[in-house]
Amino acid sequence: MTISAERPTHEDVGTPRTPASRAPWTQRPGWLSQHLGTAIVVGFLGYLFGHWLGNAIASNYTYIANDGQNTVADTLGLLFMVVGFLGGIGALNYPLAKIVGRTANEDEETPVEGWSKYFRYTLDHKVVGIQYIVGVLLFMFTGGLLAMAVRSELLSPTTHLFSPDTYIKIVSEHGTVMMMMATSIIVGPLGNYLVPLMIGSRRMAFPRIEAFSFWVFIAGYMVIFSALPLGGFPTGWTGYAPLQTQAGPGMIGYLLGFAVIGLGMMAAGFNIAVTIVNYRAPGMTWSRLPIFVWSILATAALLTLATPVLFAGGLFGLLDKTAQTAFYVSEHGGSSYLWQNLFWFFGHPEVYIMALPGFGIVGELVPVFARKPLFAYKIAAAGMIGVALLSFFVWQHHLFQSGIDPDMRPLFMLTTELISIPTGFIFLVGMGTLYRAKIRFEVPMLFCMAVFFNFLIGGVTGVFLSDVPVNVTVHGGFFVLSHFHYTIMGGLLFAFMAGLYYWLPKMTGRMMNRKIGMVHFWTMFVFFNLTFFPMFIIGLLGQPRRVFTYAKNLQGLNDFSSISAFLLGLSFLIFFANLMWSMFIKPEKAPANPWESLGLEWQTASPVPPHNFDRIPVITTDPYGYGEAAAPAPAYVAASADPTSTSSQT
C-alpha cells in the first residue's frame, strides 16, 4: 500500500531520550519526580495557605454573625488547593518557565517505563486515556454509592434512614458527581486515547493541555467532594439561585467545582477539536473519518462553546457568596432567572455532550459486529452536527413553567421536537446497518443493542416532556428523572461499557472475560430497566423529584425500583470483578485484532508504540468496507514496514 508522506512536525513528541540524570530530582522520570503523591501534599498545603489568607483578609465577612464560617476562607482554600495540586503534579512547570523566560525543562515528554507514568503529568495521549478511565470510574463508583443511599431512603414513604438534611445532600452530591462524570466519561478516556489512533496522528495537538484537562478533572473531583465535609449543599445538581445564595459553605464546593471541571472540559474540547481538524493523516478526508471521531468532534465543539457559560455562571455564584455581589439576588437588583438561563444554556448542550459520544461508539461498533458497512454514513455525521447545532436552541424547555418569557413556549416546543429528527438519523443508521447483516453477538454488540433499546425510550419520553400540556404533569417529577437516566445511563453509560469491552484489548493487550461480561451485561440491562421503567409510572402518579417522603400508595413501585437498583449496583460490582479478573488476576492475551475490525486503530502494533505509527498511514477509504471486494485488507496502513525506524523518512 501507499507509504506515508511524512510530516516532520509530528516527529518530536515521544522520541525516547536518554534519561535525564542531570536534571534535578523533582523532574526526573519515575517515582522520584512529581507525581500524584506530591500533588496531594502540595494541594493540602495550598488549602491551608488559602484558608489562612481568606481569614486574614476577610475575617469579619461571614454570612451569619460570629458563626466562624468564613466563606472567603473556604473559597480561597479550595482555590489554592487546586493551584497547589496542579503545581504539585507538575502542570505548571512548563508555563511558568516560559513566563519567566527560562528554557523549559521538557523532561515530562520523555516516555517512562513502568507503572509510575500513570501517576504523573504525562504527554502521551494513551497514558492520559488510561488515567481518564480510572478517573471516571472513580467518579462513577462514588456517585453510584450515593445512588444506593438514595434508593435505600426511598424504600419507605417516610423518613427512616437519613435525616431530610442528610438525604438532600446525598441527592445533590449524587447528581452533581454523576453529571460531571458523564461529561467526560467517553470524551476523556476513549476520545483522548482513540482519536489520534483513528485519524492517523502521532499525538494530540496540545499534549500539555490534554494532560492539564485530566488533572484539572481530578482536582474538580476533590473540590466537588469537599462540599460534603463543608456541610453539603441542598440544591440538587441544578443549584437554583435563591436557594444557592441561601445555602451554607458546601455550596462553594459545588460552584467552584463546576468552574474547575469546566476549565478541564473547555481545555479537552478545543484540544480535541483542533487535533481532529489539523492532525488527520494524509487521505483522511471528512468523508472517511470514523463516525466515532465525528461524534467526538461535535462533542468537542459543544464542550468548547457551552462550558464557558457554566464557568461564568459558577464564578458569578461564587462572587455572590464571597464578595456579596448580587447576580442572582432579586432583592438587590439581580435575578434568579439569570442562573436558570445560564445553567440551562450550558445544561442542554451538555445533555448532548453526554449523548453524542454514545451515538459515536454505537455507530463505530455496529458495523464491526454486523459485518456490514455503516448504513448512510453521511446521514450519521449530519445527524450529529444537527443535534449539536440544535442543542443550543432548546434550553428554555427547562423553564416552561417557570414564568419566564412564556411567549416563546411554542418556539421552544418546536425546536425541542425538531431535535428528535437528527436523533432519529442515528436510529436509521443503526437499523440500516443491522438490516440483513450477519450479527456477532459479542459483549460490546449487546451493549450497543441495549443503547438503541434504552435510548429509544429516553428519546420518545423526551417528546412527551417537550409538549407543554404534558410537561405540566411530568415536569419536575420522577418521569423526567427516569427520562434522563434512560438517555444518560441507558445511552451513554451502556455505550461506554461497549467501548471498554471493545477497546480495552487494544489499550491493555488483555481481553475482558466473555462469560463474566455476559453476566454483567444481562444483569445491568435487566435491572437498569427494572429500576427506571417503574419511575415513569411513579412520576405520572405524582411523585416529585428529590423528596424523602411520598404517597403511601407508591411504596410498592418505589420498593420494586429500589431493590432493582441494588441489583443494578451489583452488576457494577460484576463489572469491577471482571475488570480485576481480566486485567490483573488472570489476564488473557488479546489477539492483535480480536474483533476483525477494519478500524485504523487496530492496524497499528499492539501494544501501541509510544508514537502510535512508525510511518504515518495514508488513508484510501473509510473503515467500514466489511464484505466489500474493493475493501482494503485489514492492513491498509503501511504497518511497521521497518520496525526499527522511529523516524521514518521516505
Binding site: 435563591p242 432583592e331 432519529g424 453477538f441 433499546f453
Partner: protein
C-alpha cells in the same frame, strides 16, 4: 439477484406484519384499558388537555417504539451470525439506500411537526395548559385580565353563577403553601378551596427561594419565584379532592412540602369563603395589603440572611410580615 430480492421482500414483509400486529394490539390495549386512567385525570379542562395530549403522544409513540424493537428483535433472531447462513448484505445498497433514508427523514419530520402543532394548539386553546405563564400571560381566558386588575384594586367580586374568573394567590415559602383570596378581602388560609365550573387564575409567588406549585389533579404547575407573579389558569369542573405538592427543590424539607385542596360546589365555596373572611378579619388586618409579590422582612417570613435588617429600597412591593413584631 432474484433470490436476494425475494428474500429481502420476505424479511420486510414479515417485519411489517409483526409490527402491525404488535402495534394494533398495543394501541387497542392502551386506548381501551389505560387511556382514560392516565394521570392527571379529567378533573379540570387543563388536566383533561394534559391527559388527551399524553394519549395522542402515546398513540404516536407506540408504532415508533414497536417498529424499532420489532426490527431489532427480528435482526437478533434472523440475522444473527449463528442463524443466518447467508453472508451479510453487500453492495451499494448496504452503504445507503436513498429511498429508505428519504422516507425515514420525511416521516419523522412530518410526525414531529404534527406533534409540535398539536402541542401548540393545546397550549393556546387551554390558556397555557395550566402552566405558569409569567406576570403577563398571553393566553388568557376571557375576563381574566379584568378580574386580575380588579383583584389588585380591591374591587373584585365573585358570586355563584356570576361566571367570573376567580383570582387566587398562592404564596410559597419554606416549607408550606398558603393562599389568599383577593375577592374576599384578601384573607390568607392554608386551605385551598375552589368553586366548581369556574375559571381560576392562580397567581403564584414565593417569599424566599424557588418553589413550584403543583396541583396534581388540576393539571396546574407553576414555579413560585420571589418577586415574580406567575399566573396559571385552569377551569374546574366537578367537585373533588386534589393534592398540592412542591415540585421544585426548595431546601431540606422540600419532600414534606405538600397539602391538599378541594373543589366544592359554587354555593358551598361561597359560604366557606364568606365565613372564613369574617372569621379571619383580625388576622387579615395584620397582613400586608394584597399585592402580587412581597418582599420578605428580614425578621419575618423567610428572611434573616441579610444582616442589616433592612429591605431593599428600590422595590415597590409590599413588605410581607412587616407588621409582625420584630423577633
Amino acid at each position: 439477484m432474484a433470490e436476494n430480492s425475494s428474500q429481502k421482500n420476505g424479511d420486510l414483509r414479515r417485519i411489517t406484519i409483526i409490527w402491525l400486529i404488535v402495534t394494533v394490539v398495543g394501541e387497542v390495549l392502551f386506548w381501551t384499558l389505560v387511556a382514560k386512567h392516565v394521570p392527571p385525570g379529567r378533573m379540570t379542562e387543563t388536566a383533561a388537555s394534559s391527559q388527551s395530549t399524553f394519549n395522542i403522544l402515546m398513540g404516536f409513540a407506540m408504532p415508533v417504539l414497536f417498529g424499532v424493537w420489532v426490527f431489532m428483535a427480528y435482526a437478533g433472531r434472523v440475522w444473527s451470525d449463528k442463524r443466518n447462513p447467508n453472508p451479510a448484505m453487500g453492495g451499494a445498497m448496504a452503504r445507503n439506500h436513498r429511498a429508505t433514508s428519504v422516507a425515514w427523514i420525511t416521516i419523522t419530520s412530518v410526525v414531529v411537526l404534527f406533534l409540535a402543532v398539536i402541542g401548540t394548539i393545546g397550549l393556546i386553546h387551554d390558556h397555557g395548559s395550566g402552566g405558569g405563564e409569567g406576570p403577563n400571560p398571553i393566553y388568557s381566558p376571557a375576563g381574566a385580565t379584568q378580574a386580575e386588575a380588579a383583584a389588585l384594586a380591591g374591587t373584585a367580586t365573585w358570586s355563584p353563577g356570576s361566571n367570573k374568573v376567580l383570582p387566587v394567590q398562592v404564596i410559597a415559602q419554606q416549607w408550606k403553601f398558603t393562599y389568599r383570596y383577593p375577592t374576599f378581602g384578601g384573607f390568607e388560609t392554608s386551605q385551598l378551596m375552589l368553586p366548581a365550573d369556574t375559571t381560576i387564575a392562580f397567581n403564584v409567588t414565593s417569599l424566599d427561594v424557588i418553589h413550584s406549585f403543583w396541583a396534581y389533579q388540576l393539571g396546574v404547575k407553576a414555579d413560585a419565584n420571589p418577586q415574580v407573579n406567575n399566573v396559571a389558569f385552569t377551569e374546574t369542573k366537578s367537585p373533588g379532592n386534589f393534592m398540592v405538592r412542591c415540585s421544585e427543590l426548595c431546601g431540606i424539607w422540600h419532600g414534606a412540602m405538600f397539602n391538599s385542596g378541594k373543589v366544592v360546589s359554587q354555593s358551598a365555596f361561597m359560604s366557606w369563603a364568606q365565613g372564613t373572611e369574617s372569621a379571619n378579619t383580625a388576622n387579615t388586618a395584620d397582613l400586608p395589603a394584597f399585592a402580587w409579590t412581597y418582599v420578605p422582612d428580614a425578621n419575618g417570613a423567610a428572611g434573616g440572611y441579610y444582616l442589616d435588617g433592612k429591605v431593599t429600597p428600590y422595590s415597590t412591593s409590599e413588605q410581607y410580615g412587616a407588621k409582625q413584631p420584630a423577633s
